[in-house]
Symmetry: C2
Subunit: 230 residues, 2 copies
DNA sequence: CCTTCTCTTTTCATCTGCCGAAAATCGATC
DNA sequence: GATCGATTTTCGGCAGATGAAAAGAGAAGG
């Protein structure tokens, strides 16, 4: 059973205790009854009972017929979310920097936002004086945008999608990033001022995006047959 | 930003609040600053600040330079543990039942226990009157046992390992189960009374264990090249 | 059937830990 | 410098969290 350090400065004690119980459950490879957990965390049985009941109400833990506590459905949902979203955020950084070096244009990560919208989650700006704006934290429509189309999986056979709307002076190119079940987690894009973007530029940006999206997808565990050859 | 249900009956209020903040962080796909999270969970900024600080002390969340909260390292550790251990426990049930039908002997799942020991995590007993005992929740030594050797990956080329100790009247056969990174999560075994177990029985049990271990490994996401052909 | 035991939950009185309002701090902008 | 919004800290009050004890629940044995 896990032995844990004493409570730390300035924390909320009851929350601290509950979190230690949660960790004891999740890391347990031995007996996991209420009594075991109370002893492991040096709490009274009464306190442990109440705190575990709170964790159980949130479905973070569940008690089996054998009286042992294990992770609950909600815990696994939050677990999957933690593993999925943070990995993408952290992994994408160096790729965006490199995309800017290769294209001299602004590079972005977009993820699903509120219904019908795409969120700019992370961006690296172009080094040029004239550049597309950095809108990190803002959303754009999902319809009619390159990021939106990439999130919908509506790419060409080469793996990227472009957008040049008549009412916009931005040319956007985007490619989706896949997770370990082959699901689309997000998309990376290059946004460039249309006045200096040729068709050859679009092809070049697209190829770079597909290459980086592929590397990211592989790093996130996407099945090889969905990612395609290197 | 996530909107969450009111607090439920009988829970520990401060823990309840902290868990709702944690869920809001992990599920957030929009702004995730302290103010955002306080609004989403209808807490005062002061309370949210303190509770998030407690979560951060446990490294369940971390605040980036942009002021937004994301999952922390410890959260991802616990997440991986939750996804790994519970999946194995639940998935193995039908396989153990089937192994008993195929062999008429006691089938077990063993996982790493305290140092130098193996824990019987789940078992299905033989239907016969003379059977090996069900020791669910107990540990056996890792050295010199079939489960221990399987957890150490010390199998024959056919994928299973046997144990027939001179001081024991039990014949044990075991095969390891792999996770999505190819790591050994546990091992499944058949324990049979030695007096009625022939060499042909051992071969048969081994083949059945390898087949089921393979199916379990695939279901848990193990890379195909580590699992071997079906 | 009853008794005994262990584990768990609930009750209850106590007190201190948690709370929110307010003040202070911090960082960005003009 | 002043202003503003976000965040942290201070502080007094009270109710929520606590542990001891009682009650409840289930299993085992006679």
């Amino acid at each position: 059973m896990t032995s844990v350090a004493p409570s730390q400065e300035g924390s909320t004690r009851s929350v601290d205790r509950a979190l230690r119980l949660l960790a004891a459950v999740l890391e347990s490879t031995t007996q996991g009854t209420l009594s075991d957990l109370a002893r492991a965390t040096e709490l009274s049985a009464a306190t442990a009972s109440r705190l575990l009941a709170t964790l159980a109400q949130h479905d973070l833990v569940v008690r089996g017929e054998d009286g042992k506590y294990r992770s609950g459905t909600r815990m696994r949902q939050l677990a999957a979310a933690a593993l999925r979203d943070n990995a993408l955020y952290e992994l994408v950084g160096p790729h965006l920097i490199q995309l800017v070096e290769e294209t001299s244009e602004t590079a972005s990560l977009g993820v699903p936002g509120p219904p019908g919208e795409v969120l700019y989650l992370r961006q690296v700006p172009s080094p040029r004086q004239v550049q597309t704006a950095v809108w990190t934290g803002r959303t754009i429509p999902r319809d009619g945008t390159a990021l939106g189309a990439a999130l919908d999986g509506a790419t060409t056979p080469r793996g990227f999608v472009t957008s040049q709307r008549p009412d916009s002076d931005v040319t956007a190119v985007a490619a989706p990033v896949l997770g370990h079940n082959g699901e689309i987690l997000g998309a990376i894009s290059i946004n460039a001022p249309a006045y200096r973007t040729t068709d050859a530029d679009v092809e070049r940006y697209g190829a770079a995006l597909v290459r980086h999206a592929r590397e990211l997808s592989v790093a996130l565990g996407a099945p090889q047959h969905l990612v395609g050859p290197a």
